[in-house]
């Protein structure tokens, strides 16, 4: 049981990272970014090219991937989201589905359907907890989640621009009147979401082992559940939600998985989503909005 929970926490950290991206975009654009998972997947391909084909160190590949996907987020915001400020929010959500399809298409066109493998950054078994070795990347992912979460929280609460981001999510018009450049706020949320997506993908890859076009949708659904536990607006809620989803998935998978019913973990997570929506639509950690 102990190791199940530890695995769950480590995976949950990654869902939390993706969920942070979902929450940021929701705060900035009031829309769901369906491409959040797949943006990270594209980052994996970029890292793979840099590390496996150009034989550069893992860290360089990771940095290139993160910067590239952050740029992709920025470009998408500039070309699509920014031009849809007055459009119905659903249409913007459909645009993110367009981005998801575009990225999947790009991966298929360039790299084809066959799965790829990226070596994990740190080798070895890692420390032993509850008679179980925790892989170094799992530890790395938890540390990265904590750092990213803390950095975001400090940035959002302690800087003028960060406060502008938080204010814009509450009342865009009033925030604009206070002199906050809404365009830059929107850019920032998408760039940060891109970077978080790439980081999350890099950290989960060693656990899944392989990656292929379109594999990140299942991850996206888990991240969505995590974001929802935080009511889509709470960063710390998304963080905690990610850990909770990871543990639920791990425990259910350990206890109940059965060959005739392979999808039970997904069903369990969906039950969490629907249950949260019905009982507390503002999320477990979210605040009630008037």
């Amino acid at each position: 049981m102990g190791e199940t929970i530890v695995i769950g926490l480590a995976n949950g950290g990654i869902y939390g990272l993706l969920a942070l991206g979902i929450v940021l975009v929701y705060k900035g654009s009031r829309t769901l970014n369906f491409a959040q998972g797949e943006m990270g997947n594209l980052g994996l391909y970029i890292a793979w090219v840099v590390i496996e084909q150009w034989h550069m160190p893992w860290l360089v590949g990771a940095a290139v991937a993160i910067v590239a996907i952050a740029a992709l987020g920025g470009v998408f915001e500039r070309l699509v989201v920014r031009r849809m400020l007055d459009a119905p929010r659903l249409t913007v959500t459909v645009a993110t589905i367009g981005l998801l399809l575009f990225i999947t298409g790009l991966e298929l066109k360039i790299w084809g359907v066959s799965p790829r493998i990226l070596e994990s950054p740190i080798q070895g078994l890692g420390p032993k907890v509850f008679n179980f070795f925790i892989g170094p990347t799992r530890i790395l992912s938890l540390v990265a989640l904590l750092l990213a979460g803390l950095a975001l929280a400090v940035f959002l609460r302690r800087t003028d621009f960060g406060l502008g981001v938080l204010a814009a999510s509450q009342d865009p018009t009033a925030t604009r009147l206070m002199g906050v450049p809404l365009g830059r706020v929107s850019s920032f949320t998408w760039i940060a979401a891109g970077a978080l997506g790439a980081l999350a993908a890099l950290l989960i890859e060693p656990t899944i082992g392989v990656f292929a076009p379109g594999v990140m949708t299942t991850l996206f659904v888990r991240a969505l559940a995590a974001a929802l536990l935080g009511g889509l607006t709470s960063l710390s809620g998304a963080f905690a939600g990610g850990l909770a989803i990871g543990v639920i998935e791990s425990v259910v998978g350990d206890r109940f998985v059965d060959a005739t019913f392979p999808g039970i973990t997904t069903v369990a997570i969906m039950c969490v989503i629907v249950g949260v929506l019905l009982v507390r639509p503002q999320g477990i950690f979210g605040k009630v909005r008037a």
């Binding site: 459009a87 459909v94 367009g98 969505l224 019913f261 069903v267």
Partner: protein, 611 residues
Amino acid sequence: MRISPRARKALFLALLFAALPPLLNRMGVLSPTRSIQLGVAVCTAAAALSLNVLMGYAGQISLGHGAFLGIGAFTSGLLTAKGPQVPFFVGLAAAAVLGGAFAFLLGLPSLRLRGLYLTIATVGFAFMMQESLFKWRTLTGGSAGLELPRPRAGTFSFINNADYLAVILVLLLGICLIDGNMVRSKLGRAWLAIRWDEQVAQSFGIDVARYKLQAFVIAGAFGGVAGAMYGHLIQFVSSTTFGFETFSLLLVIIVVVGGLGSRSGVLLAAITFAFLPRLLTAIKGWDLLIGPVLLLDVVVRHPKGLGAALLERRAERKRKAAGSIVVAPADQSMPKLPSMPRPTGLPARPEVLDGTPLLEVRNVSVRFGGLQALDDVSLTVPKGSIVGLIGPNGAGKTTFFNTVSGLVRPLSGSVHLLGQDITRRPPHERVGMGIGRTFQLIGLAKDLTVRDNFLLAQHLIAGYSTVASMLALPRSARVERELGERADQAIEALGFERFRDTPVASLSHGQQRIVELGCALVTAPDLLLLDEPSAGMSPAASESLAERLRDIRDELGRTVLLIEHNIPLVLDVCDEINVLNFGQLLAHGTTAEIASDPLVLGAYFGEAVPA
């Protein structure tokens, strides 16, 4: 028997659709592969139309519609291939029933959810279906899949692809016809009103929960049929056929690109998307990139969809052809309001003498979080009077209206209409009992035309069933004709013939207010709650408003409760005045008493009143 032109056209199309594919096939023009491709387009169109009912008309965004297709395909497949081996049309009917039943199960809890949260719940539903029922090996075969037979009628079978294409073309035509019938009936109007604003819909007397559920069930049933059509077309379905990434997302894209609520736009988009990959295979692999880029281009340029863009262009051309745009003079005075006889079909209301209390509100309190919006307010409105409700901004006036009309449920206290306790009645029932209201920001479905709004205002007297709506039964046609006549009478009485087919949103605020008042009066409510009727009106119009308010009382015999900031108007027309301040009833009395009450003057002008 007389056959209407529309029915004749439908019959002709049905015969054409039934005859053409087999004929072309026998002539060697239509190959079996091409038939399958066309069939996929037909099934996609049917599925997109079913989602359009939910998203386009009722405004309920679902990203999980693929699940209903799967339910339909598996239902029909299991019944026709395994087990009882029923005929194709029985399988189809069962697909509709089960699709509708699951949609009901999804819709019931979803009544509590709005916007993006509802959307997420539908994603959850789709994944749950995909991972549980569709992957349940002993039932559906899981990833190994299920083979579906083609229909067969006696010795004649539809194994030939072109013959089956004829079958599903006729089915698609049927769905289109039902869709058209619904849009032209009270069902479609109610959905569009809900899409615009649920509170506005309730004030028209629409039972929002019921109509939303109907949208879910009808969309689910159509989705089930579309799924069964598709399953029997490709003759094999598995747990991955109706996945979230494949069908659900594609359908949403089609409906949004085609234009929410635009049938022809959605049909066009469905056929385009079904054929796009074929058209682009010439440029191998690039279709995967060109498709999404086209999609992004369309949503950025036409956020309301291609259908809406085409409609706007057509309207523009019409306007240009008609010459200059007719603009009413801004200082148009308030026209005489229509005096409509009380329609039949409403529950009987007791006739009472003027002066008996029509509305009695007893000790009502309302709290929003930490804010005490209403604090132990009691108020009586005698029949045949105009009663004013005044007070500074934030005093709780509109909250009081919401309590009377049922949009807000009080923490304590009760509301009585002619002695009957209505505190627990939902808003739409109160409209039926004779409470009409107008809103500060205009309680109309502004994206619909003036005439549509007058039809909506008669929702409660449109006495025909949902089935009659869907099948355009004679009864619904007759009732609709009567409603239309009444609407036209009312529009003529207001002198708004020119604006009959103009969307309300393009009228001036003052004109919208006149239409709103006309709509509120068209079903002859006993009590009219008017929330700042003079706001945004020209001085000329608000001057004549006083006269019109007196008409409502004296000529039409209605009772009015009036919120108004225009104090001269209030002092001019009201028989009695109530003053609210910080949620409490500060004063109550005849107009003369209130006009000289030092407490009121203090609250209003913030002056220390000399003792």
